[in-house]
């Protein structure tokens, strides 16, 4: 076939080419015209017929000859002739060859045709023989089939009879079988076969033989039905069984309406049992008063809720839908709607009650349970199971209710976590207070390294606590929970409730609490505690706060855009800085007051008019230096050294300037002039977070107090000299604690000047004697 087609195409092609060849001459002008129309610029290849072109069809020999004769010389002509003769000769021989070849081919073709003629004759004979053979076959076949016709109808009749007999046998055996099945409890089989046979029995029930069978079956089935009803009413533990039983009864042809009502009643009994069990573990007093042993934990409660109520409800509902809504209802649309309605009515109150129990329990546990993980997993399980039930009964909106509950649980849990953090902080602060109050850490007790260790562990513990709370918070958005995808948990929960509510809020509360200590003038925290808190808040401001924020970045980032209620981090840091400053200021003030009280007492209780000639530095002044040294130790254990102004080389050695005995009015004048030239003393500058600055603050307050006390007294000669000795001693020992020893010198100068002014007999001591007394200590 393919070959044929190919050859056909080949032939067509060939024919076309031949035609083209022969029609070429005639059509050429037309084509030419056509081309010209098509294309305004004539193709260069085609030329107008040239009569002088020997190859052209319009060739005119005479013209050509005359032209040659005119144009060419004789030798050229000769040559031309020779050339032409040669061409003509070769053309002749070519033609001869072609003719000969064609002739040969023609002879070959004739032979072939002749051969074909003989072959066809032979074939015709064969075909005739074949036709005869086939006729014979047809005849034989029809004979055979006519012969077998009889038997075939017999066979089919026989097989029909066989099936009928089988059926009959089944019918006859049915009562027995039914009985066996019923006895062995294979109720489903019995019902299935009975329903199959029922129609037949009904149709042929009037025949006596069938009558018997029919009756017998009916008896069995009625009994079966009774059994089924009985088990249906009695047994509501196994909800699967319940569905099956109802299915069977339904198949046995009892009216679906009453069955449906009965089913709901039975289901209700079962579900109410489940609820009652749940209630036991929810109801306020019983649940709380019962001993620890009986109280089940959240997870067990969740299992109970899932495995009990939710799962039973799901099974009951699905078999109800299968039986009544999809099964019976398919044929009775009216009943379908009614059945659905009944189901919803029945479920609504039960589910409502269930929700109340679960809500009470979960919220209660969210408030109290120490294990967040348990709460999350319990909520997750219940939510999953509730979602499954929701798919069956979307009308109850159980899933939405549960989602709302989840949000509430999460919020309550956030509160709980807040409470945990706060309690932890309070406890930690209390324990630090106790540690600081213990004798080993007391001022001058020498336990400086302990206080910084205490700070380290305090900070570490708080961070650990924060981390563990963070892990708890992450449980709510862990990927394996089914509600991590809820919008609330993806957005608001993350930034508002956890980030802002718990952690930023915690920092804020630390800040507030610490700030409260400084505001509350009745707060009886020890100075060491203030120092400790100052350092803690300072660290919080510099690093700890950012550590916490970094911890949050992974799972609880800032919300996109400018949401209301987002904390500005810089403002928070600034608040912390202010609080740290307040705390350290408070420390300085507290210590200053402590030293001041001592100084005041020592000055006010003494009669400076009639005092003895000074023999030594007063004990209280030495005590002052000792206290400073103790404070120095205490501050040094928590704060860095800080930068002191370069001490002038002779600062401690410089001679007292008060060795002259000034006239009364001169003192004032001198001190005023002195003040003019020295820069104004900023006695009270803000304290920085380093040791020297803190110490300087305390010293300044103490010396200022000394000055004020001196000014309120009147001095005799020796009283003044005692002050002179004391001040010199202070000058020798205090400079090393302070940033600027010039400042201390100035204050001490002023104290002595004031004492001179307040003296009735202003005679200062020889400075060499003063030095001696000071060295003796």
């Amino acid at each position: 076939m393919a070959d044929d087609e190919n050859s056909l195409a080949l032939r067509k092609e060939r024919r076309k080419r031949l035609q083209q060849y022969y029609t070429d001459l005639n059509e050429q002008p037309e084509c030419e015209q056509q081309r010209k129309l098509d294309n305004p610029t004539p193709p260069m290849v085609m030329e107008s017929p040239n009569p002088l072109n020997i190859n052209s069809p319009a060739f005119e020999p005479d013209a050509y000859l005359s032209k040659l004769l005119k144009e060419k010389s004789l030798s050229d002509l000769m040559e031309r002739e020779l050339d032409m003769v040669k061409q003509i000769r070769s053309l002749d021989s070519d033609m001869q060859t072609l003719v000969y070849e064609n002739y040969n081919k023609f002879i070959g073709a004739t032979d072939t045709i002749r051969q074909m003629k003989t072959d066809f004759c032979k074939m015709e004979d064969d075909m005739e023989q074949l036709a005869v053979g086939i006729n014979e076959i047809t005849e034989t076949s029809s004979q055979i089939s006519a012969a077998l016709q009889n038997k075939r109808s017999q066979i089919s009749k026989l097989s029909q009879v066989h099936t009928l007999l089988q059926k009959l046998q089944f019918l006859f055996q049915l009562p027995g079988r039914l009985r066996t099945w019923v006895d062995t409890g294979a109720n489903r089989k019995a019902v299935n076969y009975y329903t199959k046979a029922k129609s037949v029995l009904n149709r042929y029930g009037n025949l006596s033989s069938f009558q018997h069978i029919h009756d017998e079956c009916e008896v069995i089935v009625v009994k079966l039905k009774e059994d089924l009803w009985e088990s249906f009413r009695a047994n509501h533990d196994d909800v699967v069984q319940l569905g099956e039983t109802v299915d069977l009864i339904l198949k046995l042809g009892d009216p679906p309406e009453s069955l449906c009502a009965e089913y709901i009643t039975q289901a209700k009994i079962k579900l109410e049992e489940d609820l009652a069990q749940l209630q036991k573990h929810v109801e306020g007093e019983g649940y709380k008063l019962r001993g620890d042993r009986d109280v089940i934990d959240t997870l067990e409660f969740a299992d109970m809720a899932c495995g009990g109520f939710l799962s039973n409800h799901s099974i009951l509902t699905s078999s109800y839908i299968e039986l009544f809504v999809d099964g019976v209802g398919r044929t009775q649309p009216l009943f379908q709607a009614e059945a659905t309605q009944r189901l919803i009515d029945f479920s609504r109150s039960l589910v409502q009650e269930f929700r109340e129990y679960v809500e009470t329990r979960l919220l209660g546990d969210a408030d109290n349970s120490p294990h967040t993980q348990m709460v999350v997993r319990a909520s997750d399980r219940i939510y999953r199971k509730a979602t499954a039930l929701d798919r069956l009964l979307p009308e109850l909106k159980l899933r939405d209710g549960m989602a709302k509950l989840l949000v509430q649980v999460a919020l309550r849990r956030c509160n709980y976590m807040n409470g945990t953090l706060d309690t932890y902080l309070t406890d930690a602060i209390t324990s630090v207070r106790q540690s600081l109050a213990s004798p080993s850490l007391h001022i001058g007790g020498g336990g400086q390294s302990n206080i910084s260790q205490l700070l380290g562990s305090f900070q570490g513990n708080i961070l650990t606590c924060i981390k563990s709370i963070l892990r708890d918070a992450e449980l709510f958005i862990a990927e394996d929970t089914c509600f991590s995808g809820m919008e609330f948990f993806a957005t608001e929960y993350k930034w508002k409730h956890v980030r802002e509510g718990i952690f930023i809020g915690f920092i804020r509360r630390i800040n507030k609490q610490c700030e409260g200590y400084t505001d509350d003038i009745g707060s009886h925290l020890s100075p060491a505690m203030f120092l400790f808190l100052a350092r803690f808040v300072h660290d919080l401001h510099l690093s700890t706060m950012y550590q916490i924020v970094n911890l949050l970045e992974d799972n609880f980032p800032r919300a996109q855009g400018n949401q209301n209620g987002q904390t500005n981090q810089d403002a928070l840091a600034e608040n912390l800085r202010t609080t740290a400053q307040k705390l350290i200021n408070h420390y300085v003030r507290q210590q200053g007051m402590h030293v001041s009280a001592m100084i005041r007492k020592s000055i006010e209780t003494r009669d400076w008019l009639s005092t003895m000639e000074p023999r030594a530095v007063r004990a209280v002044v030495k005590r002052l230096v000792e206290d400073m040294s103790a404070i120095d130790n205490q501050v040094g254990s928590l704060f860095e050294e800080g930068v002191a102004k370069a001490h002038s080389s002779d600062s401690s050695r410089q001679q007292s300037r008060w060795s002259y005995v000034p006239a009364a009015t001169d003192t004032n004048l001198m001190s005023n002039i002195q003040k003019l030239f020295s820069e104004r003393i900023e006695v009270f500058t803000p304290v920085k977070f380093n040791k020297v600055s803190v110490l300087t603050g305390v010293i300044k307050i103490s010396l200022k107090t000394l000055l004020e006390c001196i000014r309120s007294k009147t001095f005799g000669k020796f009283g003044l000299q005692q002050v002179q000795v004391d001040c010199r001693y202070l000058q020798l020992y205090l400079w090393r604690f302070a940033t600027d020893d010039n400042l201390i010198s100035l204050l001490l100068d002023e104290i002595v000047t004031s004492a001179v002014h307040r003296s009735l007999d202003p005679q200062l001591m020889e400075s060499s004697v003063v030095e001696l007394l000071c060295e003796r200590g």
Binding site: I521, G522, R589, M593, S596, L609, S610, A664, T665, N668, S671, N672, K675, R680, V683, F684, I701, K704, T705, L707, E708, R711, T714, G716, H757, R758, S759, L760, P762
Partner: protein, 375 residues
Amino acid sequence: MDDAPVIYGLEFPARSLAAQCAETEVTRFLVGTQALRAENQIHLVDFDEDNNLVNKTVYAHRLGEIWNIAASRGNKHLLSTCYNHIELNKSIQRAAVWRMPDSHEDDMDSVRMSSDSETLHKLTDLDDVDHVNTVAVIWHPSGIDDKIASITDSALLIWDLNAECQSTVADVKESGMKSKLLAAAWNPHHNSQQIAASCGSTVKAWDIRQSGVRQGSAVWSLESINDETVRCIDFNPNRPYIVASCGDDCRLNIWDTRNSKQCLMSILEHSHWIWSVSYNQYHDELILTSSSDSRVILHKLCSVSSEPHIESADDVSDDKQPREDKLVNVYEDHEDSVYAAVWSSVDPWLFATLSYDGRLVINRVPRAEKYNILL
């Protein structure tokens, strides 16, 4: 712009300052010097507001250095001083009532030699045999001049100048208190029958009618929580029961005397002891404190003033700053401890402060704040 402060310098240290309360035309202040070994003076300083000029009259006070000065509210010629008296290596404080010469106005015209100081006429001494060391004298707030109170270390005494007799209202030694009395204020409310005095860290008030043979017990008593000395007290002139106190705890405390357990407000701005607190007589939200940190601070405490929040419906004060408690200004014109700060009795926006180095500074409430209060 606010006017620059006017500074008046004394040759001697000083810690006592009082406004001449009875004078209603000219702003006048009394300053007492404190020189142990020189003759002390009382400077009567006139402030000419129009020209921002200060005129002074100097009176000699030969009895000793002055620790406290007070002016009568009824008679502008009367004043009292507490001064140091030294005898036998003992220093005690005594008090006296003085009358200034009547010819004060003439002095202004006929310029006398300044070195030739005027003399004061001593009316009476306020000395009691049992109670020495008078630390302060206070005049009756309503200007009844025959009644005057003095505070000694241990007792509160009431003097009747006409009858030249004295009665003891309270004796702290006998009532078993250890601290000394330090400052006192006469309650201007309720017929001026109460005097409050500070005793260590507590403030106690006594009813002056209880005077007699037996001293009465305190009417009320305010206990500072931190055990720091109270150095000055002042009653709110317009709102009863409200008292301001200050002292070594560096705080300005406002109390309601009906609730002695807790103060209404406690403001920590100074960094050393506060030596004086003073209510503005006209606008009692303005309170002046001065401290040995050499600063003077003007507070505005509306919430405890006599005009707390009158934000009624016809309130058009949206453009006005809300009336809130704030620190109005810190004055840093002094270089030494400021022991006294008093308001002018004439111009409610004017006050004077005195530091130990003898520098008297007359200053004003910032103009912005003044308009804020007035408008």
